[in-house]
């Protein structure tokens, strides 16, 4: 872009001081171009006029709606912070509980049934006059074998 082009633009718009404009006024090519533009310009302006803004208030409505939308989340900032803190606290407690359950030593857990001293799967007697039943007591952590219809167990059997 040269100064000549700048000057030409200004001359075309009638903004160039007369002293500088003289060289264009004496140039037939420049004069022809000015004439061409002066003919085309009104046609362009008339033919390209933008359509009228049919619903101007629509712009206001939409912009103000958007502003209100943007404002809403920032209003309850305090509540939002509190909610986040509560959520973070609960999440921490849950995580700690899970970790504790996973890594808690077995000795701290509630004993299961298999840890009793003995477990009776079935109890029956060969003699029909003798009945045998068993039950375990969770409170005492023991198993009771209840025998009816027999003499005292021989000393040799007590060990078994």
């Amino acid at each position: 872009m040269t100064d000549k082009t700048h000057d030409f633009t200004q001359w075309l718009d009638g903004k160039l001081p007369p002293a500088q404009a003289a060289r264009f006024e004496a140039d037939p090519e420049a004069l022809a171009e000015r004439e061409a533009w002066n003919q085309l310009r009104p046609t362009l302006v008339a033919g390209l006029a933008p359509p009228p803004l049919l619903h101007p208030d629509f712009i206001n409505t939409k912009v103000l709606e958007a502003i209100e939308r943007d404002r809403k989340p920032s209003r309850p900032a305090g509540n939002s912070l509190l909610r986040r803190l509560v959520f973070a606290g609960l999440a921490s407690i849950s995580t700690a509980a899970v970790i504790t359950l996973i890594f808690l030593p077995d000795s701290f857990r509630r004993p299961s049934e298999s840890e009793f001293i003995s477990q009776v799967i079935s109890a029956r007697a060969g003699n029909p006059k003798v009945s045998v039943s068993s039950f375990h007591t969770q409170d005492d952590r023991g198993v009771v074998i209840w025998i009816e219809g027999t003499k005292p167990i021989p000393a040799s059997e007590l060990v078994r």
Partner: protein
């Protein structure tokens, strides 16, 4: 904005808007919406886009109000936001429109769909609708920056300095854009002149 009282009124609305008063900002929108819409339309050449970008312009202005230093008038500042938004949209559109024909991509733009491959010969005669279509097609062939410069000069009657501020360009760039835009329009529409 013409006289001192309207300038003072605008300054008052601006102050209240900066304090978060949306009613005052609504009045500022009312003052400038038409000019902003027209300016955007001349760049994007589509009513729907012009409407959307007008809203975007005012919304961006609202968000940037604390940064507005009053170096330019409010309208000039709004024009700058509008020009940037409109040119951005045109650039995005230029990258997008591609149609696949016979497996090969064909680049298309709005102007190429409407511009006649050859102008009518002088004396062919041209009706009003055709003339409008011809003018629009030629105008669409300008770059968005050139459309912005020409429309601010010829339709809004802005000075070079005002156009420079509104488009965030130097004075030389404005004159250069005007020069080349006019040259291109004249060459595209040369037969219209012969026709008359």
């Amino acid at each position: 904005m013409g006289d001192d009282s309207s300038e003072a009124a605008e300054a008052g609305l601006l102050r209240r808007s900066r304090d978060g008063d949306t009613v005052a900002f609504g009045e500022l929108i009312t003052l400038h919406r038409e000019k902003i819409y027209m300016q955007i339309y001349m760049i994007v050449r589509n009513e729907e886009d012009a409407m959307d970008l007008s809203q975007e312009t005012f919304l961006r202005a609202w968000k940037s109000l604390p940064k507005f230093d009053g170096k330019f008038s409010l309208l000039t500042w709004l024009r700058r936001i509008a020009t940037n938004a409109a040119i951005d949209l045109c650039r995005t559109r230029q990258r997008r429109p591609q149609v696949e024909i016979d497996g090969g991509p064909i680049h298309a733009d709005a102007a190429s769909r409407t511009t006649p491959t050859a102008f009518e010969r002088p004396g062919d005669g041209i009706d009003r609708a055709d003339l409008k279509a011809r003018l629009e097609a030629a105008f669409d062939m300008l770059s968005p920056e050139h459309r912005a410069a020409i429309s601010l000069k010829e339709f809004d009657g802005l000075s070079y300095q005002e156009i420079a501020k509104a488009t965030d360009s130097s004075l030389g760039t404005v004159m250069s854009r005007l020069h080349y835009a006019r040259k291109k329009l004249q060459s595209l529409l040369a037969d219209l002149r012969n026709d008359r």
